[in-house]
Subunit: 399 residues, 2 copies
Amino acid sequence: MVEADEALRVIKRGCDELLIEQELVEKLASGRPLRVKAGFDPTAPDLHLGHTVLLNKLRQFQLLGHEAMFLIGDFTGMIGDPTGKNVTRKPLTRDQVIENARTYEQQIFKILDPEKTLVMFNSSWMGEMSAADLIGLAAKHTVARMLERDDFHKRYGSGQPIAIHEFLYPLIQGYDSVAMKADVELGGTDQKFNLLVGRELQKHYGQAPQVVLTMPILEGLDGVNKMSKSLGNYIGIHEPPNEMFGKLMSVSDDLMWRYIELLSFEPLDSVAQWKREVAAGRNPRDIKVMFAQEIITRFHDKDAAVRALADFEARFREGAIPDNIPEIRIEAGGGPLSIVQALKQAGLTASTSEAMRMIEQGGVKINGEKVGDKALLLLKDETVVLQVGKRKFGKITVA
Amino acid sequence: MVEADEALRVIKRGCDELLIEQELVEKLASGRPLRVKAGFDPTAPDLHLGHTVLLNKLRQFQLLGHEAMFLIGDFTGMIGDPTGKNVTRKPLTRDQVIENARTYEQQIFKILDPEKTLVMFNSSWMGEMSAADLIGLAAKHTVARMLERDDFHKRYGSGQPIAIHEFLYPLIQGYDSVAMKADVELGGTDQKFNLLVGRELQKHYGQAPQVVLTMPILEGLDGVNKMSKSLGNYIGIHEPPNEMFGKLMSVSDDLMWRYIELLSFEPLDSVAQWKREVAAGRNPRDIKVMFAQEIITRFHDKDAAVRALADFEARFREGAIPDNIPEIRIEAGGGPLSIVQALKQAGLTASTSEAMRMIEQGGVKINGEKVGDKALLLLKDETVVLQVGKRKFGKITVA
């Protein structure tokens, strides 16, 4: 049994808010395994590292002896968009839900212990619920309180329509906690309101209210926006080892520590030790390599991680990328910048025509990969290592 | 078959709003019997004349060949108060609902033709409805539109709580129209918003929207407040003939015409004729007698009506109440006034002590009935005939 203080320290690692800490202390002191809930969308089972922040927290609870409840919110998914306005949001069939659940399981058990994980579907209880029961549920919350939720508040204030069923969804999410007898619910910071509804409803139904633990939304590779597939700043957990490695090595040193806090399974003491070492002069690149190895091992295996490192180092040796590359900021006036412009502005070529010629000759590399396309664009806030010929390097950030 | 113009004239008799008249004209022109809905509370089957305004309108539709759908809203009644705050509003059991429906039937068939009346219970369809279906229903309306309803608007504006299920009730009432395939829905003016929700939902469900016909809320005997049991200004349809007669004879001449418009089954042409006669000098009392006879015949029978009239006239003859009694307004400063004070202020006795002595001697009558109680109070806005001894009369209104 882990000491209570240490358990609390592990649970609070990286978390944004813990409501209410004293209640969690008491629940932990009870000695029984706590039921820890986290809800997931039934439609998008293609996970990236951003999704794993919650899974990692569930895993920490498992390691402390508690039970992870992985909830698939399939009930509303099977309803689809009841307004009928969003034709692309088709109702999921039961078969699709089961298929998606399988895809989830293949991914989440790279993180979670299957023995201590309950995969649950809220259609199990919501599908049985009658209209009369839902009315009873709706009676337990007021319109004014619901309109306090940030997004509802903004939409109502700006005259954008809110369909009435949208007020029912937070109640259903809250009722899930009642049906699951959750002791703790995890969610992103954007879920705080809904998680608190769960607390209220549990009290109404005579249960001790769940502890609410919110985790930050993980930043993407740009270190600015949230990690998301549509923004292209993500690392999918199915990506090939070399791509994962390259992407993880490309993150800034600041973002590296953030990722380690939220994504590494290494104990806090080790992380603290690394920070001291870097402060004392150790190259943060060493830490980044260790962390990238850990992530690749998790989602592929140890061999793949070792090979990815070897490949990466081979490319560096071959390309003889020096340790200290000058960092250059280029102003692009807010828009994307062509690689040809970037090479010229960074002083790596004397002119845009030289830049084009060097690309044609295969003499330009971006992050160690040969550039074949002269029309390649660098996005705002993107940081890349550009190499021209054998010796000219620049770590370019587009501003 | 009644002419279309005449049918429309009958339907519009006494009505407050008709939305949309052109649609009604088209529905009437179709020649098929229309399905005419009116919803009633499952808890209060003790009817007074105020409740019968809608029933009378249903009857008019029946006489025009249409079908009356008498809807008992038992679904929400069986839920009770889901907030649990109103402990006096206990959920109705199915047995109570059936019992209340029987009591309704005993009363409404004094007005409606049982052959052309469907008594319906919304629990028949709502009891079968799942939570998922109710979500679909809730998706068909917006929070902003619901907050436009007058009472919601006021409560939200003044910070009084609105529980979320209250937003579902108008939707359920509207869905009743879908389930019932209503062509027309009748309701009080206070129901207009909910009746319009029915129109919207019918469109969503691919039905032609119902025509909405609102009827005014009937004033009580005071001619000011709405008729209600708690205000004591009502005529219950089970009251004994003599009481009905006395109360109906006590209403002002203005209110008499109002009652005739909303409560009499006499054709509009006859009513117009009476008005002309009164304008030409006929005593409105004659009309009042005819109307009171009609109402008593409806809720008791012809004999009872004849006897009530005879009793009333005998009391008048015996008391020799003259035809033209002076009308006297007494200021009571807003509160009720004791009969003793009233007698003095009206000049029917010289002092309050004389008033008390006359009452003790049995020499004071109120509306032809001997006054036994010196503590009797006259309410604000009440109009009564007071008599002292054989000859002193006053028609007293407390202001």
